[in-house]
C-alpha cells in the first residue's frame, strides 16, 4: 500500500507548528522525531496479572514456521516469547543465558560447553534435555538444510551431548560471532523429532508464552504459559495487532484500542507528546537505510561516480524530512555493533566536490540514473534523492517497486543501478566481504580483514579488524548509508517493561506489566 505523500506532508506541517519541546528529548526542539525518552517508569507495586496488552506491530509474519520461513516478523514475536535458544540477547544487544544457564569457551576457542537449565520444559510438558538441543542444532547445520539462517552456524563442526544437561559444540575454526549468532533463530531448541512442516499451525516451544490464535491479516494472540520454568510472565495475554498504516495505528493508540504502538511515525507524534496519558520511548535499531550503488556494472562501477553520489546527498536533510528519527552513520556498521566508528566525514556533503568528480568521470554534461525503491518505505526518500542528485547534474528516475519485485530484480538478478533498502540485520558487514552479494563490491583486503575478524583471538582484535574493513568499505564508496533509524514506541500510561531497542528484531514480553487500576 502506498502512502499518500501529500497527506503526510500536511501532517508534518501540523506537527511542526504544534510541537513544543518535551520530556527528555535530546537535540533540537523543532524536530518532532527528537522527542521521546530513553527511560521508562518503574514497575508499579500493584500489577494486574490478569491483564491483556494490545500491541501494534507493522509487519505480519507470512507463516509461523520459524524453522523454515524467513522474515524478521517471525523472530520479532516468537523468539524469547514462544521459542528459546541456548542463549539470548538483552536490550543492549549483549549475549545473555537463556535455556543454557551458563557456558564455557575452551582456551583455543574451538569448544563451547553449555549447561542447560534443569527444570525447563516444552509447552506439552516434556522436559528439555541436551538431546533436544543437539538434535535442533544438527537440523540447522545438516547438509542441504533449508533453514534460512543456516549460514549462522557455518563454523560448527560437531554437536554432542555430554550428559542430559550438557551440550558440547566443536567449531572448525575460531568464530568470534558464534555465541551472538546462536542467540538468533538458528539456536532455537525444538523438541527432538519435531516435524517442521507442522510448525506453521501449532508450536511446542519452551517460552513464557504460548500461541493463543492467529487471525490472518489481523492479529496474533499469545497467552501466558502458567507452567513456565522460569520467572512467569506478568500479563495474562498479549494481542499483536498488525496495522500497516501509520495513521490508522495512531488512531488505534489514541482511542485506546492499543496499549503500545511500536514503529510510530515520527511526523505524527503530536497527539502523544505533552500528553500525560502516553509516553514516547526512543530506541536504537540496527536498521541501516542503504543506498546501494551497483559496484559491478553501469556508471556506478566507476568509484568517482559512487563518491559523487555520496557527496551529493545531505543525510541530515533527509533525516529531518522523515521526522528526525535517525542518525547519520557514514559506514556499514551501526553504533550498537562491534567495530563501529563515526565515518560521516568520508564523502561528507559537498555538491561542488561531487560535480568535480562527475566531470573527471566524463559525466560533466549530466548523467541519468534509476533507483529502485520498495514501496514499503516512505516515498519521501526517493523524492529527496532525486532533488539532491539533480543539483549535481544527475537526473534520477525513481522507480517504486513491490518488495518481491525488488527481491527478484535487484537482489537475485543484480539488475539495477541504484536501490534503497533497509538492511535491518545486526552484524551484517559480511555482505561487503561477499563479491556475489548484490552490491557487487569486491575488495581483497576487506575480505581478508573480515575473515581474520571472524577467527580473531578476543573481541579487541576482532573489533580493530572490523573497524579497518568498515573504513575501507566506506572509502571505496561501496554503498551510501543514508541513516541508521531510531524506533519510537508510544506507551499508554500504566504499562511498564516495554521493549525500547531493536524492537523490529525481537519483542520480548517477559517484563511487560500493567498497573492495577
Amino acid at each position: 500500500m502506498r502512502r499518500s505523500t501529500a497527506l503526510r506532508h500536511a501532517a508534518t506541517t501540523t506537527v511542526l507548528v504544534g510541537l513544543a519541546a518535551t520530556g527528555c528529548g535530546t537535540g533540537a526542539a523543532d524536530s518532532p522525531g527528537d522527542t521521546g525518552q530513553t527511560s521508562q517508569a518503574a514497575q508499579p507495586d500493584a500489577i494486574d496479572t490478569a491483564a491483556t496488552v494490545d500491541v501494534r506491530l507493522v509487519l505480519e509474519p507470512t507463516s509461523l514456521d520459524i524453522a523454515g520461513t524467513a522474515g524478521a516478523a517471525l523472530d520479532q514475536i516468537l523468539l524469547d516469547n514462544i521459542y528459546q535458544g541456548l542463549l539470548t540477547r538483552d536490550e543492549d544487544n549483549k549475549v545473555r543465558p537463556s535455556l543454557a544457564t551458563s557456558f564455557k569457551e575452551s582456551p583455543d576457542g574451538l569448544t563451547y560447553t553449555f549447561r542447560l537449565a534443569k527444570n525447563a520444559a516444552f509447552h506439552d510438558g516434556t522436559k528439555v534435555t541436551a538431546a533436544d538441543a543437539v538434535w535442533s542444532l544438527r537440523q540447522v547445520t545438516a547438509a542441504g538444510s533449508t533453514n534460512p539462517d543456516a549460514a549462522a552456524l557455518a563454523s560448527v563442526k560437531s554437536v554432542t551431548a555430554a550428559d542430559d544437561h550438557t551440550v558440547v559444540v566443536t567449531l572448525a575454526h575460531r568464530d568470534t560471532g558464534f555465541t551472538w549468532r546462536l542467540t538468533g533463530r538458528a539456536g532455537i531448541v525444538f523438541k527432538r523429532g519435531t516435524d517442521f512442516s507442522s510448525l506453521a499451525g501449532k508450536e511446542n516451544g519452551t517460552g513464557p508464552f504460548k500461541l493463543g490464535g492467529w487471525k490472518r491479516g489481523s492479529s496474533i494472540t499469545f497467552v501466558r504459559n502458567d507452567a513456565y520454568w522460569g520467572k512467569k510472565a506478568k500479563v495474562a495475554k498479549v494481542v499483536f495487532h498488525y496495522i500497516k498504516d501509520d495513521n490508522a495505528a495512531n488512531n488505534a493508540q489514541r482511542t485506546g484500542q492499543t496499549d503500545i504502538e511500536t514503529g510510530a511515525n515520527a511526523t505524527l507524534l503530536q497527539p502523544f507528546t505533552d500528553n500525560p496519558d502516553h509516553t514516547v520511548l526512543r530506541g536504537d535499531t540496527t536498521d541501516k537505510f542503504t543506498l546501494a550503488l551497483n559496484n559491478a556494472e553501469g556508471p556506478t562501477k566507476d568509484v568517482r561516480v559512487r563518491r559523487a553520489v555520496r557527496r551529493a546527498v545531505d543525510k541530515a536533510g533527509l533525516i529531518k524530512i522523515l521526522g528526525g528519527a535517525g542518525r547519520p552513520v557514514g559506514g556499514p556498521i551501526p553504533p550498537s555493533d562491534p567495530g563501529y566508528e563515526d565515518l560521516t566525514s568520508i564523502d561528507a556533503y559537498d555538491p561542488a566536490g561531487a560535480k568535480k568528480l562527475l566531470r573527471q568521470a566524463g559525466y560533466g554534461d549530466g548523467l541519468k540514473l534509476t533507483v529502485q525503491i520498495p514501496t514499503i518505505y516512505p516515498a519521501e526518500i526517493g523524492d529527496y534523492l532525486a532533488s539532491q542528485l539533480k543539483q549535481v547534474g544527475i537526473q534520477l528516475t525513481v522507480r517504486p517497486v513491490e518488495f518481491q519485485t525488488w527481491l527478484d530484480a535487484v537482489y537475485t538478478k543484480h539488475d539495477y543501478q541504484l536501490s534503497v533498502v533497509d538492511h535491518a540485520e545486526a552484524r551484517d558487514l559480511n555482505n561487503f566481504a561477499n563479491p556475489d552479494y548484490y552490491f557487487g563490491y569486491d575488495n581483497a583486503d576487506v575480505r581478508t580483514w573480515y575473515a581474520a575478524a571472524r577467527t580473531a583471538e578476543g573481541d579487541g582484535a576482532r573489533d580493530a579488524l572490523l573497524k579497518k574493513a568498515a573504513r575501507q568499505v566506506s572509502e571505496d564508496a561501496a554503498a551510501d548509508w543514508l541513516f541508521v533509524s531510531q524506533t519510537l514506541t508510544v506507551v499508554r500510561d500504566g504499562v511498564t517493561g516495554v521493549p525500547r531497542n531493536f524492537t523490529s528484531n525481537r519483542y520480548r514480553l517477559a517484563d511487560l506489566a500493567v498497573a492495577k487500576k
Binding site: 514456521d65 524467513a70 533449508t146 534460512p148 499451525g201 482511542t255 484500542q257 513491490e402 530484480a409
Partner: protein
C-alpha cells in the same frame, strides 16, 4: 426459461475456465516467487532453488495449471504454500467480514439513493432537486480513502463513539462489537456507491417521466406521483438493476480500499497480502472464487430483469 437457464449456466462455466487460464498466466508474469519469500534475504541462491524444487515451482506451467484446475474441478481450491491453510477456509473466514461489509453498504446505498434519486428527478427544477443532485455529484467526486479518513477523524477520534479501525479478535462472537466496527466502513462505502446509484436512479426516473405510457396513465386520471409509483418505478428499475449489478462487482475494489483504511481482515486485504507474498496457489483460488461471485451477480441481474420486465422473457 429453462433454455435460458441452461445457456446461462454453460456461459458461466466457459467464462470461469477462460478466467482460470487468464488468472494463472497473469500471475506467472509477476517477478519473484514464494520460494524467495520463504528463503528471505539470508538464504543462499542454492537454498532458494531447493525450496523452489520442493514446491514444484520449477515444473512446466501446463503441469502446474493441470494440477491446480484438476483440484478445483473436484472442489479442492488448494492450500497456501506458506502456512498450509486451505483457500476455501480462509475465504470463508474473510468473507465473514467482507460479505456483511458489502451487503450492508449496498442496502444502505439503496436506502438513500432510491428515494433521493426519485426526488431529484421529480423535483428536477426545484432548489431541493438540484441540491440533491449536487450532493450526489460531490459524493462521486470524493475519494473513498478521503471520506473514510474524515469519518474516522470525526466519529472515532474527535467524538469517540466508534472504533477507528480493526475488527474484534473474536469476530462475530462479539456481535455488538463487530457491528460497531462496521458502521464507519459501511458509511464510507455507501456514500461512494450511493452517490453513483443516486445519479442513475435520477436519470432513469427522468427517462420514464417523458414516456408516452406515463402520460397515458395520467390522462386516465392518475396523479403524477401515483402514476410514477404504479408504472414508472418498475420501468426505471431495469437500468438501475444493471448498474447495481456492476456496482456490486465494483464493491470488491472499493472494499479493498476501505479494508485498508479501517484495517478490516477481509477478502481485499487477504488478496493484497497473498499477492505480496507470491502465494500464487492461494491467490488464484481466491480470484477464481471472486470471479465466480461476480458472474453469479451478473446472472442474478439478468434473472431480475426478466422478473421485472415481462417483455424480456420472450428473448433468450
Amino acid at each position: 426459461m429453462t433454455l435460458f437457464l441452461l445457456r446461462r449456466a454453460a456461459l458461466l462455466v466457459v467464462s470461469l475456465l477462460a478466467a482460470s487460464v487468464l488468472v494463472f498466466l497473469a500471475l506467472r508474469l509477476l517477478p519473484g516467487d514464494v520460494a524467495q519469500t520463504i528463503g528471505g534475504i539470508k538464504a543462499t541462491p542454492a537454498q532458494v532453488a531447493a525450496v523452489r524444487h520442493d514446491l514444484g515451482l520449477d515444473r512446466p506451467l501446463a503441469a502446474q495449471y493441470g494440477d491446480w484446475i484438476g483440484g478445483v474441478v473436484t472442489g479442492d481450491f488448494g492450500r497456501s504454500v506458506l502456512d498450509g491453510t486451505s483457500v476455501s477456509g480462509q475465504l470463508a473466514e474473510k468473507f465473514a467480514v467482507t460479505g456483511p461489509l458489502a451487503a450492508g453498504a449496498v442496502v444502505l446505498a439503496l436506502a438513500f439513493a432510491v428515494p433521493l434519486g426519485v426526488l431529484a428527478a421529480v423535483r428536477r427544477d426545484s432548489r431541493l432537486g438540484s441540491a440533491v443532485n449536487t450532493v450526489g455529484q460531490l459524493g462521486i467526486a470524493l475519494p473513498t480513502l478521503w471520506t473514510g479518513l474524515l469519518l474516522v477523524v470525526v466519529f472515532a477520534v474527535q467524538v469517540p463513539w466508534l472504533p477507528a479501525q480493526g475488527f474484534p479478535v473474536d469476530g462475530w462472537a462479539e456481535p455488538g462489537q463487530a457491528l460497531r466496527s462496521l458502521v464507519l466502513p459501511w458509511l464510507t462505502l455507501a456514500l461512494a456507491e450511493g452517490a453513483v446509484l443516486l445519479r442513475f436512479v435520477r436519470s432513469a426516473v427522468l427517462d420514464v417521466l417523458h414516456q408516452d405510457w406515463l402520460r397515458t396513465a395520467r390522462a386516465k386520471g392518475r396523479t403524477r406521483t401515483s402514476a410514477l409509483l404504479r408504472h414508472g418505478l418498475r420501468n426505471a428499475a431495469v437500468p438501475v438493476v444493471s448498474v447495481l449489478g456492476l456496482q456490486i462487482a465494483a464493491l470488491v475494489a472499493g472494499a479493498v480500499v476501505v479494508e485498508q483504511v479501517f484495517v478490516l481482515p477481509g477478502v481485499g486485504q487477504m488478496l493484497i497480502t497473498d499477492v505480496g507474498n507470491r502465494d500464487l496457489d492461494k491467490v488464484q483460488g481466491e480470484i477464481l472464487l471472486l470471479t465466480a461471485a461476480v458472474l453469479v451477480v451478473g446472472f442474478l441481474v439478468d434473472l431480475a430483469h426478466r422478473l421485472i420486465d415481462p417483455r424480456l422473457r420472450s428473448t433468450l
